[in-house]
Symmetry: C3
Subunit: 153 residues, 3 copies
C-alpha cells in the first residue's frame, strides 16, 4: 500500500504547508537529505488555543501530545510539498522535538511520542527515526516545535 | 558578481574567526556538507554589552536582531576560514537559532531574521535556508546563538 | 592502536546501549552519516541522583561535567551498537549539547567539555567535532543531554 493511500486511510488531510514570511524556506534538499524547518502546531495557519502555553501549566498532557502530532502533520505536509509524493521517502532520519514545558513537567518524551507515533503509523519501519527531545521556550508560546531530516529515495 | 565582492560592497569586514579553546572545532566538513559550531554574537572575541542578557528584558528587540546578525557574520567568517572563498558556497542549508528570550517575549522569529536576512542579502537565492528557532538559556548570557549547515560546490 | 584497545586502556566499559521504549530508534544511518538520538547521562538505565537537576543549583559543576561525559559514553555505546567496531568511525562530526543550567549559571561550554574531552581522548584528531551548546530543560530533569552526528569510513 502506498504511503499516500495509507495517509488517506488514516483520515489525515494534509494542510497547505505554511510558507515562511521571512528570508528562509520550509525545506532544503542537499544530496538525498531533505532538511525541514521547525514546524509549529499550526492549524490553518493559526495556533489553536489548546496548543498554546506551557505543558504542565496551561496545556495538559493530552493536548501536548496532540500538538506534537500536529507538528508532525505539518512536517509531512512539507515533505509532500518538497517531493510531490510521500512514497519518495526512504527514511525519516531524525526528528528534533522542542517542548514548551513547565519547570515541574519532565516527561517530555511522552509528549514527543505524539509526533513519533504518527511517523511510524504512516511510514512503518521507514518512519523510525533518531530523536532529540528537549525543553524550550517557543515562538508564539507554542506548546511544541518539531524539525526533521528525511532521506529521499 | 562574486560573493566576496558583494560582501565588500555591503561593508562587512569578516572578523578573525573565533577558535574554540576546548576540544572542539569551529567546523567539520563531511562530504559536501560543512557543519558549523554554534556561534555567539562576539565582536573581537568579546561579547558586547548590548548583546548580553534576555531579549525582552536587558536586551531590546533591535539589539536582539543585531546580535543575530553578528552571529551570522561569525558563521560567514567560519565558512570563509573553511573554504578560503565564499563563492564555494552552494547553499546555506540550515540555520539553527537559539534566542535567549524573556518568558513574555515570544516573537523569536523576528529576532532570528537578523541572521536570515544577512544570508539572503549576501548569498541571494543560495542563502535561503531551512531554519529552526527556539528559546534557550545561552553561554555567557549571550542574547543569540546561531549554528549552520552549508553545502559546498 | 585501535580505538577498541584505547577504550579498554582508558578503563571504559561501554554500557548496554539504551533502547528507546517508544517509536524512535537510537541511531539512523543515512549514507555515511550516523545520526544518534539525544542521550541522557543514564547509568544502567537509571539517572543517578548526582546527574539530576539544574547545574548551578542541585548539581555542581564537577558532576555536570561528569554527566556530560556519561552522555558521551552512551553516545559511544550507540556508535558501537551501530557499527560493531569503533574503528569504523571516520570523524565525530558534531555534538549537540543541552545543559540544564540554573539561570545564573552561564559557563555551559565548560560543562560540555566533559563530553568533548572524552571524544578527543578516545578518537584523537577524528574526535574533534563541531559543537553547539545551549541551555535547556531536559527529560527526567537530567543535567545534560548530548546528541551526535558521526561520519563512518
Amino acid at each position: 500500500m502506498s504511503i499516500e493511500t495509507r495517509l488517506k486511510d488514516m483520515g489525515i488531510i494534509l494542510p497547505v504547508p505554511v510558507v515562511p514570511v521571512a528570508n528562509y524556506v520550509p525545506f532544503v534538499l542537499t544530496g538525498s537529505l531533505l532538511v525541514i524547518s521547525g514546524q509549529l502546531p499550526l492549524v490553518d495557519g493559526q495556533l489553536p488555543a489548546p496548543f498554546k502555553g506551557q505543558i504542565g501549566a496551561e496545556v495538559d498532557e493530552a493536548n501536548g501530545r496532540a500538538a506534537a502530532r500536529q507538528c508532525a502533520i505539518n512536517v509531512i505536509a512539507q515533505i509532500k510539498a518538497a517531493t510531490g509524493d510521500l512514497d519518495h521517502v526512504k527514511r525519516i532520519v531524525r526528528l528534533g522535538g522542542f517542548i514548551n514545558a513547565a519547570p515541574s513537567f519532565t516527561t517530555l518524551p511522552a509528549i514527543m511520542n505524539g509526533a513519533s507515533d504518527l511517523m511510524v503509523d504512516l511510514f512503518g519501519e521507514a518512519g523510525r527515526h533518531a530523536r532529540t527531545t528537549v525543553g524550550a521556550h517557543l515562538p508564539m508560546s507554542a506548546a511544541v516545535e518539531v524539525e526533521a531530516m528525511v532521506e529521499l529515495k
